[in-house]
Amino acid sequence: MTTSVETKGHGRPVPLLELSGVEVSYPGGVRAVAGVDLAVVRGETLSVVGESGCGKSSLARAIVHAPPPTSGTVRFDGRDLEALSPSELRALRPRLQMIFQDPISSLNPRRTARQIVADGPDIWKRELADGGGVDDTLRKVGIDPDRMGDRRPHQFSGGQCQRISIARAVVLEPDVLVCDEPVSALDVSVQAQVLNLLRRLKADLDLTMVFIAHDLAVVKNISDRVAVMYLGKICEIGPVRAIYGNPAHHYTRALLASVPDVADAQRSVSDAPVSGEVPSPSSPPSGCRFRTRCPRAELRCATEEPELNALGAGHDDHLVACHFPVRG
């Protein structure tokens, strides 16, 4: 399964995961994802951040085709998931795994930790590299299979349940792991354990991750690249250092200013946060979707939708959708 990293003409690695024009609509005219293009290369962690309701979970589900997007394509390892036959998609599934937000309710309460993790290979009729794959994986996530392998979910803490659901996903040795808010429900001390674990698994297994979260400090810790989403679209995307060090979109800046940080005890809470009401995803504002809450908005913002473009020379991996981005 170790495809070597090929490169296209201009020297960029071929993405392992590629989304183009992905849209997700729900009955009632809600366009939760309104056209997203993304490319993630092998071994990379791309995070998606944004306010509640901006479409992060809808996007995550579209990536693993559960369910498929309303329109647009998702390519995995060069293959359009939509074009695959059901059996081909099934065969591919183990390589494309998702971890859900709520660890406890996503585990079958009647099965033991070992059974839960073994279910994966069973369902996918996959042989594990060696007989001890399940126990090894449990050990990898910090659950001692000999002492705790036969316990059931209610006998574990929230953090332990979350680690079991990670074990269930990684036992299949996936190439891509989509994590939807994997640490939001956890105490900070447990959150740290899970984040460290994901970082280690990424290095050990050369995992490619799409990480969904609303905690910007967590995202900074885990990501290589960050995409900021607003009302169903990406408004800024770039390397983690660029997004945090040099945020160009007014929404990104406002989001960062809203983060309560322990450093707040030392500084006064005075930067401008995002205010105003979130527009409805069924009738987004004309032009720039953020303009109704943007401090910089001008007439042009109401008439012309800004495209996601490189910030400028020397920043070709930092894209922003704004007529008046903040530079430097």
Partner: protein
């Protein structure tokens, strides 16, 4: 944040326990603190540390048949735990209000949001119908609920989680309470909404000298908002300090561990986070040892045999010894004995509780100063 010195609430030695199959579960264990007018007290601690039970104990809302609450809760001179039911009813939703962690349990599912607001406004402020309606709309707007007039007619299940949370805040603020106990008021909200709600609570505090107990497991939330912070562990207060002080000079190893495990916006990406090994205990019966000892990098034999009590910090470099910093630890950070305990454990490779020092990771066991 200066506050008028008038004392509003005094909690003395409150202990709340539940009879369970395992024995007497002590959820809150001898907690004492004071709250002045206009002051915000942050309460932090891991899940299960007793924060919600403490909040409910203060307003005598622990109704469970298997529960026992002892101690004193003096609100403006009268003991909440002893007052007659009539007085208690007037107090709750009047001069004292609570925002619950789970909005669905606090809101009445069969009543429209508007009626719930009106009821509260009528009962405690005696407003007339027309005024009730106007005040209700104004309140919903002030907590950032869009389309407030229409939402008056909504039932709780018709609102999103975040809106429900804000509706409950509106109801709690309806009567202009002197004391607001906010149990995880923003946990269900995203950062931008969280910020708006915290700003709103802070405005109420400033304008009306409302006092607030702000309960959360998110240290970031209380950092910029609380005057002082109490850290709870296994039902006890293990450290209490002015907010700034707690973050810059924590004394208790648990507080230190918590602070280290938080990813910060100012950190470089990719940092290995410190962790606190193990998980918090459930206290059955009384404690006769430090309940943090099994997870503590500094633990010595004494910690396993004796209960550390909350003592005022008597450090010499402090301008006054009465700056309100207290901790419950035999080997605190920033002391000679504490540093010696840590170094000794490092040399031995494990703590007195038998925890290998390697469990803390590269930087997790704290630095001697």
């Amino acid at each position: 944040m200066t506050s008028p010195d008038e004392l509003l609430l005094e909690v003395v030695d409150v202990t709340t326990s539940f009879d369970t199959d395992l024995g007497r579960l002590v959820a809150v264990d001898g907690v004492s603190f004071r709250l002045h007018r206009g002051e915000t007290l942050g309460v932090v601690g891991e899940s299960g540390s007793g924060k919600s039970v403490l909040a409910r104990s203060v307003l005598r809302l622990v109704g469970d048949r298997n529960a026992q609450v002892t101690g004193r809760v003096v609100l403006r001179g009268s003991d909440v735990l002893k007052m007659p039911d009539r007085e208690l009813r007037r107090l709750r939703g009047g001069s004292a209000a609570m925002i619950f962690q789970d909005p669905m349990t606090a809101l009445n599912g069969t009543m429209r949001i508007g009626s719930q607001l009106s009821e509260s406004l009528r009962e405690h402020l005696g407003l007339r119908r027309r005024q009730q309606r106007d005040a209700s709309i104004e309140l919903l707007r002030s907590v950032g609920i869009p389309d407030a007039e229409r939402q008056l007619r909504s039932y709780p299940h018709q609102l999103s989680g975040g809106m429900r949370q804000r509706a409950m805040i509106a109801i709690a603020l309806a009567c202009g309470p002197d004391l607001l106990i906010a149990d995880e008021p923003t946990t269900a909200l995203d950062v931008t909404m969280q910020r708006q709600v915290l700003d709103l609570l802070d405005r109420q505090r400033a304008e009306r000298s409302m006092s607030m107990m702000l309960i959360t497991h998110d240290l970031g939330v209380v950092a910029g908002r609380a005057d002082s912070i109490m850290v709870m562990y296994a039902g006890r207060i293990v450290e209490r300090a002015p907010a700034r002080r707690l973050f810059t000079a924590p004394r208790h190893p648990y507080t230190d561990g918590l602070l280290r495990s938080i990813p910060r916006l100012s950190d470089e990406p990719g940092r290995e986070l410190a962790t606190i090994p193990g998980s918090p205990p459930i206290v059955i019966g009384g404690s006769t040892a430090c309940s943090f000892a099994p997870r503590c990098p500094r633990a010595q034999a004494r910690c396993l045999n004796e209960l550390p009590l909350l003592v005022e910090d008597a450090r010499t470099d402090s301008p006054s010894s009465s700056d309100g910093h207290a901790y419950a630890c035999f080997y605190p950070l920033g002391t000679e004995s504490g540093d010696a305990a840590l170094l000794g454990n490092r040399r031995a490779g494990s703590t007195a509780a038998g925890l290998p020092m390697a469990a803390f990771g590269p930087t997790g066991d704290g630095v001697p100063t």
